[in-house]
Assembly symmetry: D2
Homo-oligomer: 378 residues x 4
């Protein structure tokens, strides 16, 4: 059960204290308070955990400072959508809005290799008006004998260049808690020239200890990739590990499922799940066509499968695209064959734009036919 309090309520206020005193007397119920500082107001939610089924909804609604009460189902308590649940499905970071109603492209390097390539990549993004990118410093690799990324050694120049080219958010995978500190330190050292979205990869989707630690910090939003080999439900539960520790700025990433039924693609593209995640939870949804498709094959129209998959994600409402580019993909140290070339970036962005406009037209069409079926997604 979630109590949504009146906006801007102060913890020192009488109403708040009365409320908490009342709640403290509930038997077998634990409380978890979540405060979210927005641009215009501060929202406070109180999660009641335990045997809440016996607590009368009406009684809770009548408590001081309580604006609304949501009785959550067992699944996805914090991030889920529940009956009469009007909690927001977006968050702000670095002046950008990440929501179920927005779209951001994170084109960039799967693995940072040289400063020169980072510079070329970011310059190209800036020239095309982009303010987000992906930059892989820590690379989990199947074999211990493969290149594992430059790690913290590359952070300073990556962040400095981001500042130089006006990049506001860098998606960056972390595989160990120490990486968060290294990123924090490198940002401070370079004067916080950019923001970072921590990325949890598919191999760590159920690395619950890492999720808990990432969930405890609120500096960085998190992109959690779906785990391969587990169901969608299990991956969404993993997102709750982040949220239940306090960090609600979570984006969920689809990146394909590992099975030979997806051949000749590297993974089985799963972007039909975009609307499913948006229906079950309030998380914005990211698609990763590079890892899903994993090749540079193209259809007879001359369009890369990778662009087709991206368009499929976007026309169904995807909110973020994570995509590998490389200035010289034949020299990339990781996943070169699937990377797009820098000179393909304008085409890629224009293609995404067509798909996004189609999605918006489809949404407007649906509003005309059945307005009562739309859920607020803001």
């Amino acid at each position: 059960m979630i109590l949504i309090l009146t906006p801007n309520i102060e913890p020192e206020s009488n109403r708040y204290k009365q409320l908490m005193a009342h709640l403290a007397r509930l038997q077998d119920i634990q409380l978890r308070v979540h405060r979210e500082q927005g641009a215009e107001q501060t929202l406070t939610e109180i999660y009641l955990i335990g045997h809440t089924s016996s607590i009368p909804l009406e009684e809770m609604k009548g408590l001081p400072g309580v604006e609304r009460v949501v009785r959550v189902s067992e699944e996805y308590r914090v991030l889920g959508r529940h009956r009469d649940d009007h909690r927001p499905s977006h968050f702000d970071y670095q002046g950008l809005r990440f929501g179920q109603d927005t779209l951001h492209v994170f084109a960039g390097l799967c693995a940072v290799d040289t400063r020169e390539h980072v510079d070329l990549m970011m310059k190209a993004l800036r020239d095309l008006g982009q303010v987000c990118t992906r930059m892989g410093a820590y690379k989990p690799r199947t074999s211990p004998y493969s290149f594992q990324g430059h790690g913290k050694n590359c952070l300073s120049y990556v962040f400095e260049l981001a500042g130089k080219y006006g990049i506001k958010v860098i998606a960056m995978e972390v595989t160990h808690e120490s990486h968060i500190d290294e990123i924090h330190e490198a940002l401070s050292r370079t004067g916080d020239p950019t923001g970072v979205m921590l990325q949890i990869g598919t191999r760590n989707t159920q690395n619950f200890e890492l999720l808990k630690i990432v969930g405890r910090q609120k500096q960085f939003p998190v992109l959690l990739k779906r785990g391969f080999g587990i169901t969608l439900t299990e991956s969404l539960h993993a997102a709750e590990y982040l949220a239940s520790e306090g960090n609600h700025k979570v984006i969920f990433g689809l990146r394909g499922i590992k099975t030979n039924m997806g051949d000749p693609h590297r993974n089985f593209v799963d972007f039909a799940h975009v609307p499913v995640v948006k229906r079950l939870t309030r998380m914005p949804v990211c698609v990763d066509p590079s890892h899903a498709v994993g090749s540079r094959t193209r259809g007879p129209e001359g369009i890369l499968d990778l662009l087709h998959a991206t368009a499929q994600g976007v026309i169904a409402g995807a909110n973020m695209i994570l995509v590998d580019f490389h200035p010289a993909s034949n020299r990339a140290l990781v996943d070169g064959p699937q990377a797009l070339l820098l000179e393909e970036l304008p085409h890629f962005l224009a293609d995404v734009q067509i798909a996004r406009e189609a999605f918006e037209k489809r949404t407007a069409l649906a509003a005309r036919y059945a307005p009562e079926l739309q859920t607020a997604v803001a």
Copy 2:
């Protein structure tokens, strides 16, 4: 190896006889002649089967009546795309063109139940300008104790109503060779008021004996569904069974893969394979969102997952949509829960139209950026 002869060459001509006499002398080579009567010209192709690797290409090119020679790879000899292969990727039926460059919607009844419902369905299609439909008479069911379709008993009224409402092609599943005769007879009996596209379902994708028999008749084009549990490659090989027997009018259908990794959808939607099939073969590609998604859940924009999946197929170039509608889906005898309602048909068609326009814009965009990468798809 395929010899494409000069158009309209006559079997009685000297050139043709000389050619055949020469070919008959080749060691360990079998010949299969395929003649396709088009609206404007008759195309003749001769397939050389056996140890063709030792036959010099240049020698074949110089033979009388030979216009072009294509050395096929082992895979998908007839239906595949091979190097320097300019054979067409479309066919005509009932005055309609089915190609990798067209799009047709086959909305209709998964299983015919009553004459009244067929009438309602076809009337709705006619009113919206549609000339194709699906009508299931023979239903393969998991359990022998479930309703198995009305079979031949419903054919007459289905065809008559099609004639009444101007329906030109009905997609209809067959599960036994006798069904082809029954359909042929019912059409004759009713005065051939419509055309039929024979549909081979996913349970029979590798029912090679049925494929051979369906492939031997050329009256009806064929829609072959992908098999669940087998790779895409294996399903494409199955299409070759049809083509190698003589029927080249084959459309390939994607309908999702059976695995719980696709939950909560009924199957794992596989429409990212649309460009793959179009690249590997010359077959038009159909998507079946009804069986792939299998439910009436919808995203927060109020749009059904089923419409999202359809849009995903179309924006990537799908050429045909097979979709279940029902005038009273709660009374449908088969797959009611996944059927769209008749009143949703206008929305559905408008939604498809948006996605198709987006695909066309994307194709035009690609032509501007990289015209040399486009393959002829006509």
Copy 3:
């Protein structure tokens, strides 16, 4: 609901006629009568199909000629195990008993290639006391351009040689209804020197039209292979297609599931399902280690994976083994790499014997620890 009548009841008897007259008056209930001629007695079962839930069990028990009544669950009506269901889990054919309590090895040729090889194979079997074999005449192949088996042309010499070497039952795959007639004719022509067990392969598990036709004949028992890509439940439903048409002599075959998760084996070995099939149904269970494992790799003990998989099936209670051998596997036309060599047959049979003895010891052990948990399996 199944009414099991008193043994040897005659259709012309008064009791029987009274019973049938009573049953005919039941509303919305279809009757299907199954008579099984055994060595010692004739068993008659009447299946009541339709809305049987409203029929009182006690009333049925009191009808003339009724010995017992079994209220079946919806699933696997004929072949399933139901509460208080003491119908037998075995059948007799060619003087052999095939039951959940017996074990037969069907070693032989995946595809018949030459008369000489059939002769060598059967001679080796005879010399080792074997009376069953497998012989593939009709081969379903992924590509239409691969060798498809010698079909009916080889039947006469296969059957004659079987007679010569005392082979009583040959497992033989059929892929079309005409094959049953061809087999029947070839047997008659050669004087019925042996018996045949019709085999339905994994590509035809849900070829319901073939199943119905095979189910309608009672001359030959049937081995139905599990379908790849469908659940175990769906494959067991397919077995009901055979049984609901009248043929209850059905053996269920496990042959691995097609997924790369089973690599480096050809399929994912599924022999842990042996006890599951025996619990859910009354069918004997066959394992096919050749197609499941599909290679000749071996563990460090020098034992082939194929023998390990066989032993795993047998120690869990498998009742039949289908295994590919070949006198000269490097010249086999189909699946040569997975075939065992004739000289490996003694080792194979001795290995199977060890596993079977272990199973029997385990069964005896279980009887000591928990005799009340054992179900009659005879």
Copy 4:
């Protein structure tokens, strides 16, 4: 490339110094030295990593102190079996030998709940002559709202009771590096009454950071479970992460693959891979029938599927069994439904014994038929 030095060679010896001086001059080659202190002798292996293909084998064989040289393939350098590779396939811990030739049962509690249950469990093991067990203190759970294990709070009494009942090795899952320290401290605090085998669960198979840290310590051997959703090859690569950091005492665990194709079992039992892992690597192989089968269903012989799966693993050469028991499974906090009851332990152990004897007979049989095919497994 691996240089195996003469046993007991001293790092201070001239031979050793000459060897190292020579190796240091090799271009682009990194060295990693691994010393293993055995009961009777100390083995030293030097791993040459980098462009070793240009190094002549003969030259290396002639270097001082070198007894043998193994040119490793790219895969599984440390743990793999390579051509002419006679490195051992066993290790010793707590006076027990864990090898590809031994079998140990680790029956115990999936999750420690109360001291009383630990006591009951260990007493039962002691009474039946067992010296190993499993005890789960840290439990990774799909939902953050589920019981997560008692963690370090239960370690002291678990270890003390192990000492009391003569338990020598406890398999215990760790999900974070801090758990290793906690276990080390608790052991020290309680006077090292027992040993611990660190277990990496299927959710962390590719948590490479955890693997590296676990691999760097050599106090505890490691049981690495196969990851679900990844191929066997990828899981074996993960084991190399442990070994490449120095810890070669690694056991590989099979626990089933997550797919509905395994229904009605919880996972798809994968024990046919036992001989595969033993062939590709030198790791002993563990099977986990509890998580693979995940239920208490039984076949008509009255034997639990779980016992059948165990027997299948053992008859194919499994070296370790991890199995859940519980004194009161209806009160177990984790995975109660799949736990065996304490009173079933004697039956379980006797059943395992039958399967092990069958494996030994099979190995002896293979030695008679084809002794030259056996690889040393000691």
